[in-house]
Structures are given as C-alpha cells and as structure tokens.
C-alpha cells in the first residue's frame, strides 16, 4: 500500500474518532467476558469471532497511528501497520459482525463493537474493498431521492395494482382509497420496503384502524448504513425526513426493517414528527381498540425473534409480545430476557449480500436454530425483513419445520370487524 492511500485511509479513520469512539478504543482490558456473547463464536468457535478480538484489529491500527505509544513502544500493544493484509483482516472482521451489539451487554464497560466495526467498514470503502453491491444499492436509493419525479408514475401504477389485494384483507367503504400516496396533512407517513409483502398487510391494518395515513415514495432500508458510509446513510435518511416535512405528517412509521427503524429513530435528530415502528403502531391500535384480532387464525405455538436493531438497540420489546397475546394463547419466549436474544445472523448487510454470504450465515447462526427449536413453537414470528429472510434460510437449511412469519402480516390476516 502506498503512502498516499494509507494517509487517505487514516484520514477516514480520524473522521470516526469522537468521544465515545475514543472511550471504546482506549479502554478494553481484554478480560474475555465477551467471549460467549457473539453468535458467530458460539456457533463456530474461532477466536477471531470474539468481540474483543474483532475490536483489537481496529485498536491495533489506532495504537499505531493515533497514540504516541505506536512510535515509542509499538510492541506493547501489538500496534500494527495498515497494509493490504490488514485491509483483508478488516473485511473479515467487519463482514462477519452483524452489528447486533449483544457483546455490548456482556462488556463490563459497555464497549460498542458495532461502532468500532464502523471504522473497519469506512476504511474498506476508502480502500475500494467493500462489497460493491451494497454501495451500488445505496447509490440507487440516493438517485431515487434526487429525481423521484421520474419514478413517480411507475410507482403510482405499481401501487394501484396492489390495491385489490389490500381490499381482500380489509373491505373498505365505497369511495375510499386502499393505498393513499402523497397526501399532505396526513397523520402518519408509512415507509415501506420495495415489495408487496411490506405494503399490503400494513395498508389493510391502517385502513381497519381508520388511520389517516399516506405511503412514502421511498423504501425504508438504508444500504448506506449497511456499508457503513455516513454520508450516504444521511442522504438516504434525508429523503424520508424531507418527505415527512413536506407532507407535514405527525408520525413517521417505519416498516418491519431493523436498520431503517434504528437509523430513522436515532439518527434523524429533533424533528416535528415522531418516529415509530409498525409494531408499536399495531400495539397502539390494539390498546385503543381500533383494531380487533381473531385468535383462531394462528395455528400452533408461536415464538418471537427480537430483531436486534428494534429490540436491544431500539427499545421495542413489550409491543410485539402484547400483539402476540392477542394472536395466540400459546406464546413462548426464546430467552427470559430479550436483550440476550441471539442475533439471527443476517444483520449488518449480510442478508443483502445474498448467496455470497449464505454459507457463512448458515454456519454462524447455529445457536439461533437451537434457540428456536428449544421453544417447540410451530410459528416463528419476527418484525424485520433481514431477520425474516435469514430465519427462512435457516429454516430451509436446518429443516427446522417452522413457519416463518412477519408479525404485521399475521395482524393483517387476523383482522376482524
């Protein structure tokens, strides 16, 4: 690696150093309490998957270039030079970490490995070594934000075709529109994913609850966050913020997508609207009696997989359980404490990388399979697109024999008058 490239990469590194990051990089005592925290280590048993080991890969570079020790006494902390080999190591560390932050629960100091891995991801972008597909997807989202007039017509046509299916789930009064788009002054802006499964059930429930809602032009998912590019993350996020402001909505409701929810909830800053997940909204409708559910629709015992970014990292834990109690009398917890729930193994962009990561995703999530199987549940519900895809892959691969379902679809299917 030539000097110029290295300097550029170190500038990127430096841009990530704020107060919290410095805490995390300075403090680790390598006590090893995080050993059992990572599902990848628990499933595959290789030391390189322990949180402290992953973090140390970044920390070694930090010690080399951002601490005086790196010049005076590099060996004491095994400070390491940034080379092509180091970049490969960064890739391995960053793209085997799903950013679930389970290790943060274990660490006596509360070190955030996901945040440390964000340095690795940014360096990979700088070295043109990141998974290209993620950057490509992020760029597509940004382009769509810049010139959404071009996409508008196609979008409306697509939505029109879905309306009949929405009405099948919930019959509306004559003259009402099943899917409303671009309505200024609506109470709620629903940000879905590109896919009918993310729009139809949600629309049916909104209509059943008599919500004054409108559908966003944009898909919720933030590929900028997956690839770890702060600028792109912000641009993708801003599309939705601007739309919400333009329509003057009171609430932005994010579909079942963990990353989208956490990014919107925690990175959007102070805004005139509140940010909720669709799970929270459905629980609210139930609590207020705006929708009623039929318990006979769900057959067999059900369990719920807490998406890391929504539960442990986003705080939505009680709501899905409240909804499930309205759907079944046989709900089974995977862990007594949801913050200890195993990651499904699909986060951090791994599911978005599809077939490329399939083998690793299956091997690294064995503990998740055991956890689900132990509940004996027939229906495995979740509230995140990534988790749903990964859990479905696990279901096929390990022949778990469960039905993997979106919580929101189950709500829509169980609607009653």
């Amino acid at each position: 690696m030539d000097q110029k490239t290295r300097d550029d990469l170190l500038l990127l590194f430096k841009s990530k150093l704020n107060e919290a990051m410095t805490f995390y990089l300075e403090t680790c005592t390598r006590c090893g309490v995080c050993t059992e925290a990572c599902h990848v280590y628990a499933s595959m048993g290789q030391v390189k998957y322990i949180a402290a080991y992953r973090a140390e890969i970044i920390r070694r570079l930090y010690k080399k270039y951002f601490k005086a020790r790196g010049k005076v006494w590099p060996t004491v902390g095994e400070a390491k030079e940034l080379t092509e080999m180091a970049v490969e190591e960064l890739f391995e560390a960053a793209y085997s970490c799903t950013g679930c932050r389970r290790c943060m629960v274990y660490c006596p100091f509360g070190i955030d490995t996901q945040m440390i891995m964000s340095i690795a991801k940014l360096l990979l972008i700088g070295a043109n070594a990141e998974p290209e597909i993620l950057t490509l997807l992020a760029d597509t989202s940004i382009t769509k934000g810049k010139s959404f007039e071009l996409f508008k017509e196609g979008f409306f046509d697509g939505i029109k075709r879905l309306e009949a299916e929405v009405v099948q789930k919930w019959q509306m009064e004559a003259g009402e529109t099943a899917i409303t788009v671009d309505v200024p002054g609506a109470d709620l802006l629903y940000v879905a994913l590109a896919g009918a499964h993310s729009i139809i059930p949600a629309a049916a429930v909104f209509n059943a609850a008599g919500e004054n809602w409108t559908l966003s032009f944009f898909e919720a998912v933030n590929f900028g966050a997956f690839v770890g590019d702060p600028t792109k993350t912000k641009l993708i996020l801003d599309r939705i913020i601007n739309e919400a402001k333009r329509l003057k909505v009171k609430e932005v409701c994010i579909c079942e997508c963990g990353t989208a929810f956490r990014v919107m909830k925690q990175l959007s800053g102070k805004q005139p609207f509140k940010v909720t997940s669709i799970t929270e909204v459905h629980a609210r409708y139930l609590r207020e009696g705006r929708i009623k559910l039929d318990k006979t629709k769900l057959n067999g015992a059900a369990t719920y997989h807490d998406p890391c970014q929504i539960a442990r990292n986003g705080g939505v834990m009680d709501e899905p359980r409240y909804i499930l109690r309205h759907l079944t009398d046989d709900f089974r917890e995977m862990t007594p404490d949801p913050k200890y729930n195993w990651c499904c193994g699909g986060g951090g962009g791994l599911v978005a990388l599809g077939e490329d990561t399939l083998d690793f995703r299956m091997k690294s999530a064995r503990v998740k399979v055991d956890q689900v199987t132990a509940t004996g549940a027939a229906v495995l519900t979740t509230a995140c697109e990534n988790c749903h895809t990964q859990l479905s892959n696990l279901n096929d691969h390990y022949k778990m024999g469960v039905k993997v379902e979106f919580l929101s679809s189950m709500v829509a299917d169980a609607l009653r008058r």
Partner: protein
C-alpha cells in the same frame, strides 16, 4: 548503589508522579473535549434513573457476575483491596478522621489486604495463559499484571515482615518520614529506609510503582476513569 537507590526513591518518584498526574489529566481533557457521538448508544430496556444504574454497572460489574462468576469474585476482591491500599497510603501522609471510623493501625487489614490482592493478580495472570483469553491478550496486559504483582508483593512484604514476623527495624514512622519529606519537597531518607536488611523491599516496591505510574496514563488502566462515562452511554 547508593546513587541508584537515591535515584529510585527521590527523583524517579517525582518524575513518575508528574507523568502520572499531568499525563492523566491531559489525556482525559483531550478525550472529553472531542465531539460527542451524534446519536444514542443505549442498550434497551431502559432502567431509570440511568445514572444510578450506570454507577451500579461501573462499580459492581453485574455482567461479569452473570457470565464469569469466579472472575467476578476476584475482580471485586481486587478492586476493593486496591481501594483499601490506596487509603492505607493516604494515611501515611497524615491522619484522615474519615478513614478511622473503624479504628485501625495504618495499613488496614493486618496484611491480608495485600495477600488478597496478590492472589487476585495471580489469578488474572494465570487466566491469561488459557485460551481464548490468551489469544485476546497483548503484551500490555501481561506487563501491567506482572508490574502490579511485583508492586503488591514487595509492598506487602514490608507489612507482613512487621506484622507476622515481628520485624521491627523498619516501621510505619520511617516510611512516613520518607514520604512526607517527598511531599514537602525536602527529600529525607531515614537510615531504616535505605540501609537496613529489608530496605530492598521498599526500594523495589517504589521502583515498580514508579514504572506503573509512568505507564498508567497511556495504558488500559485509564479504564478507571473511562468506565463510568462508558457505562452511562450504554444506560442512556
């Protein structure tokens, strides 16, 4: 030899304390003057009041208790014993009424505090020889543990010699004279401190302590100051 002993007991102590205090303060100022992280780093569910839970996490290490109970016992023993020894050293500098709530001779614990500390340090050291902590460890971790072990061992030996073997030549008064003279910037080395048979314990104790203080601001020992703010971030 006398010159070397003098160097360790006087100028090196000043240098070590200067580096320790100035280094720690400057490093902390530098760290805390950096921009805050723009978004929350909280782990849910939230428990209120968050600052109280952050204190709880910082001083009682509940996550270690849950996942590594044996380590937790040693960690707690280590940190409590360390605190007691810091109090013991402060008492060499003068009388503190607050510490004498439970009346005791200076260096409380009758030698057992040092013993517990050395055993805890040995435990920390030996567990680093075992995988997977072995693979996680870097030389710094070993240096610090070995250094602390040597400090505690030689320091405690002085205490043990007096308490358990009736060795009376070097008394608490002697260290007090030496330490206060350093504090008042009029270095004075009593004969007992430099010339008697057991003075090598004091010299080695001070020497290793100097090394530790010199390294402290640049090492992971800074967790003593950073643990609370980090735990606060996690608690929200």
């Amino acid at each position: 030899m006398q010159t070397l002993i003098y160097f360790i007991l006087v100028p090196m102590v000043y240098i070590a304390f200067a580096v320790f205090f100035i280094g720690t303060v400057i490093r902390l100022i530098k760290i805390f003057r950096q921009p805050r992280h723009p978004s929350t780093l909280q782990i849910f569910p939230e428990k209120k009041p968050t600052w109280l839970w952050a204190l709880h996490d910082t001083f009682l290490f509940p996550s270690v208790r849950r996942h590594k109970p044996v380590l937790w016992v040693f960690l707690l023993l280590f940190h409590v014993a360390l605190l007691l020894l810091i109090i013991g050293h402060l008492e060499l500098l003068g009388e503190f009424k607050i510490f004498q709530i439970i009346p005791h001779d200076v260096f409380l614990g009758q030698g057992y505090v040092g013993l517990i500390l050395s055993l805890a340090l040995l435990y920390f050291l030996f567990r680093r020889f075992v995988s997977p902590v072995r693979e996680l460890s870097v030389p710094e971790d070993y240096y610090l543990l070995i250094l602390l072990f040597l400090i505690v061992l030689f320091g405690s030996e002085m205490d043990w010699a007096r308490r358990w073997y009736g060795y009376e030549e070097m008394t608490v008064d002697d260290y007090q004279t030496y330490l206060l003279s350093l504090l008042y910037l009029k270095p004075d080395l009593p004969e007992a401190v430099t010339d008697y048979g057991h003075s090598f314990m004091l010299v080695l104790h001070v020497f290793f302590a100097n090394l530790f203080l010199l390294f402290f601001p640049f090492s992971q020992s800074m967790h003593s100051f950073l643990s609370l703010p980090m735990n606060k971030l996690r608690r929200g």
